[in-house]
Each structure stands twice: as structure tokens, then as C-alpha cells.
Assembly symmetry: C2
Homo-oligomer: 138 residues x 2
DNA sequence: ATATATTTTGCAACGCTGTTGCATATTCAT
DNA sequence: ATGAATATGCAACAGCGTTGCAAAATATAT
């Protein structure tokens, strides 16, 4: 586990620091998406707000995590699958937000529906955000 | 035009004020979605920031406008169709954001794709956000 | 039409989120 | 172990959105 985190950082050409290891562990242990505030809480305020912002930004830039737009306008972050590389995200999967427990899921295994747009419009990226109740809360 | 705005406000049980008329006119004239900042600019700073926030919130509560989550986490607002009533929004249409001109379109006429979720998950609301290039910018 | 009650507005102040500059500390490469 | 490069923490700041309250505008009743 620790070793794989090490590998992730090294292949992304990032210094291996306590801080980054800790944040990546939080993502791996959680399984779901996390907000900046989640990380601040989960980490027990051991490191600075600013460091968390910069770390998350770095991870997004390097393709380690991706952002999820939410209806209440809080940014969520989740681990990217292997397909993502620096500067090239492939996160066109469906995001599911549970209205009961608040968890955000990346539904990677679900087929992405075909979205139609009018003539003259071209699609670059599609975000699908589903609100509902997850299997643990029903 | 002015009369229909009057009707919208009255049927929503809201006082008819210069402020609200002006903001509704901005939406009607624009045709596309507007952000708080857009309204502040377009109105020429004639009224207070706070008033705009409160007016938008009131309109959302009354089902006159709806919010659109965006990838860059700026809230956009757009006029609701007739189907929306106070507390019950029906805005499951596709939202399209042009990466060139920045306009946000509500694609009401486009069929909403069927989104599949895993067993045990139930859907309450679906937001589909498409980024690309609109017909005016291609 | 006027007076009264209700609603809306503007102002001031505040909290929260996210950013930047810079000095210090940590990590990396030799 | 040493120096160069990178990451961190602190302080300060900007922007977004909210709240409380007094003044103004609107609606209601007479």
C-alpha cells in the first residue's frame, strides 16, 4: 500500500513527502470522493490549509485525482483510474451523490449514456451528476 | 413583456419591485444562463450585491429560475420553463457550456439520455453538463 | 387617498474559501 | 554530507456569500 503510493508519486515526478502520502492514503482508505474540508478534518489539522489546496491542485495537474462538480457548488476530488495521465483526464464516468450520507461515488462500471446536442454544437466533455440514495442508505 | 414579468412576480406572491423587474428582464433579454457576476455587470451596479443574492435565492425558491452546477464551480442561473413551481423544479434538461464564448444554454428540446446506476442505487435528480463549442462559435 | 402593516432594500460587518509572496524546512541528486 | 530544488507554513489578502438591522418601498385596509 505504502509502496504503491510511493510509486504513484514517483511516476508523477513528485517529491515523496509525509503530507502527500497522508492525503493519498485518505483517498485510498475512503474509496469515495473527498472535499477539501473532508481532508482537513480527516487529517486532524496536522498540516496547513494552504498545503492541502496546493497538494490537491498538484494532484489534479498530474492526473492523480480529478474534480467533480456538485450541485451545491462544493468541489469534490476523487482518485483517477489508470487511464488518466498528466494533463489528460478521462473521467467521463457518472458521478453519484447520495442525499442521505453525502458520499460521492465514481460509477466507473456504468455505461456512459449518449448525449445528443443540436446541430452545430460539438461536445468536448460530458459531466453527469446523479443525485439520489445509495445502496447503503436505502 | 413588462406585463408578463408583472404576472410572474404576482403569481409567485412576490412584491413587484424595480429591482426584481430589472433582473427578470436581464434573464429574458439574455436568453442564456447568467451568473451573479453577470447580473452585477449588466445591471450597471445600480443595486446592491446583497440584493442580487437575495433576489436570486427568492427566485430559485419560487421556481422562477434554477441553478446550474458548472465544472469551474461558478453558479449559473436560468429561467425555468412553465413546468416549474415553487419548491418543485423540473430542470432535468441538458446544460451546455460553450468553452469559447462562455455562454450556458439550456437544451430543453434535447432528449434526456437514460442514465444507468448499479443495483441498490435510486435516482432523484440528474444533472447533465456538456462542455464544448456552440453553434455561434464554431 | 391616507395610514398602517408587511416586505424589500442597502449598509456594515462578518465568516468561509481559495490564492499569493516569502522565509524556512524538507526532499532529492551528487 | 553537501548543495540545489522542491515543498511547507505563515501572514496577508481578495472574493463570494451570509446575517442583522435600520431605512425605504410596496402592499393592504380603511
Amino acid at each position: 500500500m505504502k509502496n504503491s503510493i510511493n510509486t504513484i508519486l514517483k511516476t508523477s515526478q513528485l517529491s515523496v513527502t509525509t503530507n502527500r502520502i497522508k492525503i493519498l492514503e485518505l483517498f485510498q482508505n475512503s474509496g469515495n470522493a473527498l472535499s477539501h474540508a473532508d481532508i482537513e478534518k480527516l487529517s486532524g489539522k496536522h498540516f496547513d490549509r494552504v498545503t492541502i489546496y496546493r497538494t490537491l491542485q498538484t494532484f489534479v495537474d498530474k492526473g492523480i485525482i480529478h474534480t467533480i462538480p456538485t450541485a451545491d457548488n462544493s468541489i469534490m476530488y476523487a482518485l483517477c483510474k489508470e487511464a488518466c495521465t498528466s494533463g489528460h483526464h478521462h473521467d467521463d464516468h457518472v458521478h453519484f451523490i447520495c442525499e442521505v450520507c453525502g458520499s460521492t461515488y465514481c460509477l466507473d462500471n456504468i455505461s456512459l449514456p449518449q448525449v445528443n446536442v443540436p446541430k452545430g454544437f460539438s461536445i468536448n466533455q460530458t459531466n453527469i451528476l446523479v443525485h439520489g440514495v445509495c445502496k447503503n442508505c436505502k
